[in-house]
């Protein structure tokens, strides 16, 4: 177990007393406080951080959530919201002396309006369940995180999650229209509205990606899109990763925005191939999967154009999916890349930096160099179209010091992302994991502004304490230098 962000800086409460107060709000079986009952909540998808909460509650109505929040507010008790717990940054990690609020029972789709193309759903509804529920209407919900069979829409809003189709259709923030939130004081507030905009500040944007720090999301109205007439996928192999990187830029420069544009490097290809036998070219240094969608004729034209671009960019092989089966096969390896890497290494650590596309060759080269330096292999799987990298650092936690080494390596990758003008997290969030790198990405005045925003919603600091935004004290301890747009304070020092 790595260090947790938790410190005992809130007043201690008596468990029995708390449970009896909660029993006035919820049925007994919705209040968990025995160790074995709390175990499922001790971590999210980043399992190197673990912590049991004092108590977990599973409300099933907004009224109950409001009462729980009011109780916590009056007792000064920390509260951590949790969707499906698939987060990869320790965002839903419980607070030792606090309440874990599970939204699991909020799993109803409240309303589907096919005329306006929206669905109003409870926060615990799974991402994929929305698309499944509107499939018969020819509609779907566009953001599609790889975890979509499990993750909740509330968690998606809290993380501003993306997926392989975000290049063309945007992130969660672009695909929601209204949310309902409960503040720490127990007030129910509607943010957004029935139209395409709403009066006042854009709190919908502010809430999206706020990692459970500002309020609890209790309802989400998502926008639905009509399914495209035709979807076509291409797969290209390259004997040089740099050429694959250039091909990405060439496609975009040609004025084509693919629905998805994904890259995998040699190690990731091999792992995926061994796992799902997708038929990837085994000797390739990199592959690109490009998906085009839209009107029949448009897709036909673009497919020809992309095929030419890939060939002219040095692809050693370009395949155009003949049918739906082959298209699904192209994706099979990509979609199973994480578990596939999980098979070839006892542990892996998934990073999530985003960089300007033009820096791709430099960053790939630097990561390869660092991989040698740290003696840890890296498999690369990424949303190449929008520059969002997912380097997977392979390590073995049972070997003393390897986890720490992997974490340090990961931290260096993120700092490199900042240095080239990118960011430490494209879609997984800061959570508990990337607090130190926040000190590098932001100046203390900027972090203070974030804290002021937090205080505007939650002046007692009870919601998900210690996550997402580091204290200035922590940054001082970490001793990080803020670097911005490559303007390194000491250019002669430490270069990758």
């Amino acid at each position: 177990m790595t260090q947790t962000a938790n410190k005992a800086d809130f007043p201690a409460v008596d468990l029995q007393n708390l449970v009896s107060q909660l029993a006035g709000i919820l049925p007994q079986d919705s209040i968990l406080h025995e160790q074995e009952d709390l175990r499922p909540y001790e971590c999210d998808g980043l399992s190197s951080y673990r912590q049991l909460p004092l108590v977990a509650v599973l409300p099933d109505s907004v009224g109950q959530v409001q009462k729980i929040m009011r109780l916590c507010y009056s007792l000064g008790l920390p509260i951590v919201a949790r969707g499906a717990g698939t987060g990869l940054s320790g965002g839903a990690l419980p607070y030792a002396k606090g309440v874990l609020l599970s939204l699991a029972k909020f799993s109803k789709i409240i309303e589907i309006d096919k005329d306006v193309c929206i669905a109003r759903v409870q926060p615990g509804v799974r991402n994929l369940a929305i698309s499944q529920a509107v499939d018969h209407l020819g509609l779907y919900y566009a953001p599609d995180p790889s975890s979509q069979i499990a993750c909740t829409i509330g968690g998606n809003v809290a993380e501003n999650s993306g997926g392989v189709h975000c290049l063309k259709y945007g992130l969660t923030v672009h695909n929601i229209q209204q949310i309902k939130i409960v503040t720490i004081e127990g007030d129910l507030i509607t943010v957004g509205g029935g139209g395409l905009d709403s009066p006042g500040y854009d709190l919908l944007a502010l809430m999206t990606g706020s990692e459970g720090m500002l309020a609890v999301i209790v309802e989400v109205t998502v926008k639905l899109l009509p399914k495209p007439q035709r979807v076509q996928a291409l797969l290209a192999a390259f004997d040089d990763v740099m050429n694959a990187g250039k091909a990405v830029g060439n496609i975009i420069s040609a004025g084509i925005i693919p629905a998805g544009l994904e890259m995998m490097d040699r190690l990731a290809i091999k792992a995926a191939e061994d796992f799902v036998h997708a038929g990837y070219p085994a000797d390739a240094e990199a592959i690109l999967i490009c998906e085009l969608d839209g009107a029949e004729t448009e897709v036909t034209e673009q497919t020809d154009a992309v095929r030419d671009i890939l060939n002219n960019s040095g692809a050693t092989e370009v395949r155009v999916a003949k049918d739906e089966q082959e298209r699904v096969n192209f994706w099979k390896g990509r979609k199973n890349a994480f578990p596939a890497v999980g098979r070839i290494s006892p542990d892996y650590y998934c990073m999530d930096g985003t960089i300007p596309r033009k820096s791709l060759p430099l960053v790939l080269q630097s990561m390869a160099d660092m991989s040698v330096k740290y003696g840890l292999a890296v498999a690369n799987v990424f949303h190449a179209g929008d520059g969002n990298l997912h380097p997977l650092i392979l390590f073995d936690a049972s070997i003393a010091g390897e986890l720490e080494k992997a974490e340090e390596f990961g931290g260096k990758i993120l700092e490199l992302c900042i240095r080239v003008g990118g960011t430490i997290t494209g879609e997984h969030g800061v959570g508990t994991e990337k607090l130190n790198q926040m000190c590098v990405q932001y100046k203390s005045t900027e972090l203070s502004q974030f804290h002021a925003v937090k205080a505007a919603f939650d002046h007692k600091g009870l919601l998900n304490p210690g996550k997402a935004v580091p204290t200035l004290h922590r940054c001082a301890e970490f001793g990080a230098m803020h670097v911005h747009n490559g303007e390194l304070p000491y250019p002669e020092l430490e270069r990758f």
């Binding site: 005329d115 306006v116 509609l139 129910l188 509205g193 009066p199 990606g209 300007p356 800061v430």
Partner: protein, 355 residues
Amino acid sequence: MGLKNDISEQLQNRVRLAIEKGEALRIIAGGSKGFYGRDVSGSELSVTQHQGIISYQPSELVITARAGTPIKVIENALSENAQMLAFEPPAFGERATIGGTVACNFSGPRRAYSGAARDYVLGTKIINGKAEILTFGGEVMKNVAGYDVSRLMAGAMGTLGVLLEISLKIVPKPEAETTVMLNLGSEEALLKLQQWASQPLPVSGSCFYQNTLYVRLSGAEKAVREMRQFIGGELLKNADYFWHSVKEQRHDFFKNDQALWRISLASNTPILSLDGNTLYEWGGALRWLKTDLPAQPLRKFSESINGHATLFRTSGKRDEIFQPLPKHLLQLHRKLKQAFDPHGIFNIGRMYQEY
């Protein structure tokens, strides 16, 4: 480009001085949007001189410019590379700047089909109310490090800080574009728009006025041609001129002294039984109303359908322009204003009287 157009330090010093003197500031750039919002007093803080495109690499699909850069300069630069701002902002005047446009979150006909200004904001540099220069977001497509302060700036009308720089995602221009007209009654037109919205059609603009439904199609040459046949109707000549006149409010509909209301609501809301003349946009989700009706019933009605009404232009008093906010929401707004502008110096009262 170049440093001589970077006046951020002067602006910062001016904000510092205002804090010392307890003086309110009225932020202004091109002045093209002075008609919009509540009246504001205070000393003028002009960002007009803070100009220039800082970075633009077409293959990155991002442009970063200083807030005082005229929209026209940006649009011209993009156009040279067959790119554009996807939200098709109305300028409301030659001198309109990118800062003012983002501050108002103004978006044109394409909004219903490809998103608003706020959807394309990737990063901002601002001066907050403590005279600190802060950078949020960046030039990359995906960034969830820290709260999304950049998008919060879009539509905040300068009440939370002075915009210094803005990074926007840009898109390629469509290969082909065409506009057709259909002769229809209003109910029929709304129904058509709704049906099209739930089908994968390359619609990029819609407007209904006086029994004519105007539909713009954008995309690949062939796809547009096919869609034209599917939709039917008559081809509109001078289509660019038409959409420009709607976007910039130069169309005949906008030409009289009556107050202009902007009602934003769900696209399937039936025809409003309100006195006045209506022009529809955004697939029915935006209704411009020319009317002499008082604010009260309009606001009440809008609220009842989960929409909102803005008094967009008026020759009368400009005391209540935006839909009043419910109590708890207003309270949050006040606290956020306090978080960014603790001394209360920026554009006080531009949106709501309280802050």
